[in-house]
Symmetry: C2
Subunit: 204 residues, 2 copies
């Protein structure tokens, strides 16, 4: 469980997981590394190498057992170990993330969503009432929440991050295009959409 | 310009660019690799190594010239070489991306947004009228567009991708949690938010 799996492999494993979920919906029992590789336009030796990192015994002569491989990825990446999070910012991006149903399958449980806009507070998103930002502190304490998903506009990102640090949040998943300054004990993952786009289009 | 810069470095360079933009707003003239490294909680030797990949002459005894370093990153990553794109799906995510003003600074020019929901068509997002999905083909042809940003719900992602392939789109930036099957000549970049999240939280 605690093998050190490189970031890129974790990313690919979640894509394999998407493919396997789709195959289960189609009642497919087996899948080959070639099939997976073909869908992702990568080399099948890469797929086999990644799968070898799992504790997977589900390999037969005609391919991997779809269900076993899927379970094996879930175990390795800890999908069952639920991580509780809150969303800060009930704009379009925060709403999109709150509605992104797929997260729960991967062990991300969004417990609450907050905003400071009085016109939004009290409205429902995916069954959750948008709460006043001042409720963050008691909610984090009561629900023992460590992760905040930050989806406020860029100009409010740093002040909101300071607020989250004071509320004892330990991990910030930052969607604002701003590099946040936080104490060493707080970890930030910059979603950096533009960086992702440039990786994609750099060679166009 | 055509040096082969690894994905992770491209990603970091866009984060440095964020920091430099912020420093310019604060009228700072110089920045050290240590300052940048501190904000990103990485090693300063890494920052210097990344910057050495740029054609940057703006180093002085007291640090890099902020403006020169920013321009140098822009040149290297081709921010001025504008890439035209369309958004498919005017839901919360599509709307968030259309409103994400920062993209234009990085050379991503969103030309139009499409949906098949008659209740949405004709409404404005960031000055753009939401168009009927049937307008994709003529728009792509007329505007010479190669990139589509796919923000439709998961269950419509594959059929929409097929539609985009028929409309001669060459690059799909896919935000749906689905692995798309496309011909070899079309490139897909899976945003894979869940994979990113798991990379972040894997060691929590």
């Amino acid at each position: 469980m605690n093998k050190n799996i490189p970031d890129k492999v974790i990313n690919r494993l979640t894509l394999y997981h998407c493919i396997l979920s789709d195959l289960i919906n189609k009642n497919e029992e087996y899948v080959s590394s070639k099939q997976i590789a073909h869908l992702l336009h990568i080399d099948d030796s890469q797929v086999r190498k990644d799968i070898n990192l799992l504790n997977n015994s589900g390999k037969s002569r005609i391919g991997y057992f779809v269900k076993d491989l899927k379970t094996s990825i879930e175990k390795t990446l800890g999908f069952k170990k639920t991580k509780k999070a809150i969303i800060i910012g009930a704009g379009n991006l925060g709403t999109a993330i709150a509605n992104y149903g797929n997260f729960t399958n991967y062990g991300l449980c969004i417990k609450a969503i907050f905003d400071n806009d009085l016109n939004k507070i009290g409205k429902l998103i995916n069954g959750m009432e948008i709460q006043n930002i001042y409720e963050v502190h008691p909610t984090v304490k009561k629900e023992d929440i460590e992760i905040a998903i930050l989806t406020v506009p860029a100009q409010y990102a740093q002040s909101t991050a300071n607020f989250l640090v004071n509320a004892h949040i330990k991990y910030i998943w930052n969607f604002a295009p701003v590099v946040l300054s936080v104490p060493d004990e707080v970890q930030v993952w910059n979603e950096n959409l533009m960086g992702n786009f440039l990786q994609f289009t750099y060679n166009i």
